[in-house]
Amino acid sequence: MWRYVFRRLGQIPIVLVVVTITIFIVVRSTPGDPIQIMLGMQTSPDAVAAIRHEFRFDQPLYRQYLLWLWDVVHGDLGRSVRLNQSVVSLLTERFPVSFRLALAAMVFAVLVSIPLGIISALRRNTWVDYLCTGVTLIGFSIPNFALALVLIFVLSVKLQLLPITGIGATSSSLWASIAPYVLPSLALGMLQVAVLTRLLRSSMIDVLSQDYIRTARAKGLMPSTVLVVHALKNALIPFVTMIAIQFGYLIGIQVTIEYTFAIPGMGTAILNAVVNRDFPVIQGFTLVIASFFLLTNILADILYSVLDPRIRY
């Protein structure tokens, strides 16, 4: 087990090198120079050259990459070209916000999808099931920014129940610090509700038709025991692994939601960085998002073996 975990962790650097090399080449081969964009067209060529030198943009590409990599290994992701700030300090500001938002969205998705998935499996092909299918269809088909606008209009503008913005602002009460997360996490988590509900429904239907469920019923066990202990425990195996995978994914797709709700998370930071060709920020954030995704995938595999005794690494 531990050998497997260490082997998987050992694979991470290799993947990250491939990812960062790709990003390195892609951002530098698109038109637009970060220094020119920042300083404007009127600046003297000497000043531009000086700053280019400071950011090592005048050096050959492979040298830039190796120097960057050397710094990364020493815990330095460089400085933002645009903001007078190190990439590490920008990340420590932005990552917790995105992490909390992803967590809130996932908690919402799990709390909704477990009952929906179970009910639609048990009441298969009845109106309850069709209603759940309808809800998941909405989750699949509405883009999250559109859902965000609907939620803002109904819950904030009309009913005045929840604030639209406020994440990152200093707040006095607990509710005041939680409330701004509600709408974005609903908008962000709706797709996960759909994904997880469909998954749990189908795995539950599959499990309920298994022979061991018939055995459990033939043992005269309470229906609730059959459902929770015998069926759910099996059906949750793919579900839990999917949660871990989707969580890694959620960190990277918040851009439109963050924009809509003016959230100072990683999505807005990376979007600004792309617009301004802020190479160090793009590279640093990509590195973190990719690492996070890889870690959640390893976590999913570990959870798999914890939940299913048949799987041993």
Binding site: T215, A218, K219, G220, L221, M222, T225, K233, R310
Partner: protein
């Protein structure tokens, strides 16, 4: 003799489907005496398992529907019980062993857990007592180092060992009736014999009756006291083992026996029964076996034979006179 342990009278189990109503069990009647081992024989889809599931009231309703003029077990009218009351009958009074031990045990629960949950449920044993009893049961079915195997999962056992675990679970509450549904079909032949012997010994010890469902005629002949032969949801022949096997009185029984290998007829070709079982969603006015029968007579094409007592205690629903059709080589 005292009253029979189980009386099944005109059991009808059907399923509603898009193609109409499928009559999986179509008027089955039989009795099972205390301490008796009754064989239920027939090919796949003949209604053997459906009969067993109906007695256990494990048929999902809807789409299924179970009706009977009488379904009495040890003085209890099973059809009158609520689902909640039925929970106390299952495993405690009527236990079942299923065909595939690979798939009949829950893969994510330890063997100990699957044993003790039955004991806790029906015998109200607490954790430690249930554990002790579970170890006893595993030893009883011949699992070595039972104590250390409690925490093991089903995939860590071989097929035969898993079926032993299933037997331990089934017999854990000393049921009066054990239904073994193809209990040895999925096992190797050598393991089969061990499992059959084990079940035979254990049910004798606890005084349980057995309904042994199988398509293995040789096995049924060795194990059972009486046999019911089922075809298309009905019992077509019924009687003491020796009578049925030495004087088969239904074309289907004869056909089944002709396609079973015999050690005394080396070199003889087996004669399979041609054709397929009938579609159970269609109403049947004639003998359902008629299209496949090699012994049909004119009367078979005009009316459906009833189950009549052709010899004392030997019933069959067949017009043909099959005397002498079965080669007796003893």
């Amino acid at each position: 003799m005292t009253s029979p342990l189980l009386t099944v009278n005109n059991l009808r189990t059907s399923f509603r489907s898009d193609r109409g109503t499928v009559r999986a069990v179509d008027g089955v009647s039989f009795t099972l005496n205390r301490g008796e081992i009754l064989g239920l024989v027939g090919e796949s889809g003949s209604g053997k398992s459906m009969t067993a599931m109906s007695i256990m009231r494990l048929i999902p309703e809807p789409p299924g529907s179970v009706e009977a003029d009488e379904l009495r077990f040890d003085g209890i009218d099973l059809l009158a019980l609520s689902e909640r009351q039925m929970l106390d009958v299952r495993a405690a009074r009527i236990a079942m062993i299923f065909q595939d031990p690979m798939r009949s045990l829950n893969p994510v629960l330890s063997v100990g857990r699957q044993l003790t949950e039955t004991l806790r449920r029906h015998l109200a044993l607490d954790g430690a007592a249930a554990r002790r009893r579970a170890i006893e049961l595993l030893e009883m079915v011949g699992i070595p180092m039972a104590k250390s195997r409690l925490g093991a999962y089903p995939h860590e056992f071989s097929g035969g060992m898993r079926q032993r675990v299933m037997i331990a679970i089934a017999l854990s509450c000393n049921p009066s009736l054990l239904i073994a549904d193809e209990a040895t079909t999925a096992l190797d032949v050598t393991v089969q014999a061990q499992i059959v012997d084990l079940i035979k010994t254990l049910v004798k010890d606890i005084g349980a009756s057995v309904i042994w469902i199988s398509h293995d005629l040789g096995l049924v002949a060795n194990l059972c006291d009486r046999v019911n032969v089922m075809y298309a949801g009905r019992i077509v022949e019924s009687g003491p083992i020796r009578d049925v096997f030495y004087r088969p009185s239904h074309g289907y029984t004869l056909g089944l026996m002709s396609c079973t290998p015999r050690i005394d007829l080396v070199g003889e070709r087996l004669r399979p029964i041609e054709g397929l079982p009938p579609d159970l969603s269609r109403p049947m006015t004639l003998c359902p076996f008629l299209p496949r029968c090699a012994h049909s007579v004119d009367r078979c094409r005009t009316e459906r034979p009833a189950l009549i007592e052709e010899q004392p205690a030997h019933w069959a629903s067949c017009f043909a006179d099959l005397t002498g059709s079965w080669r007796q080589t003893t």
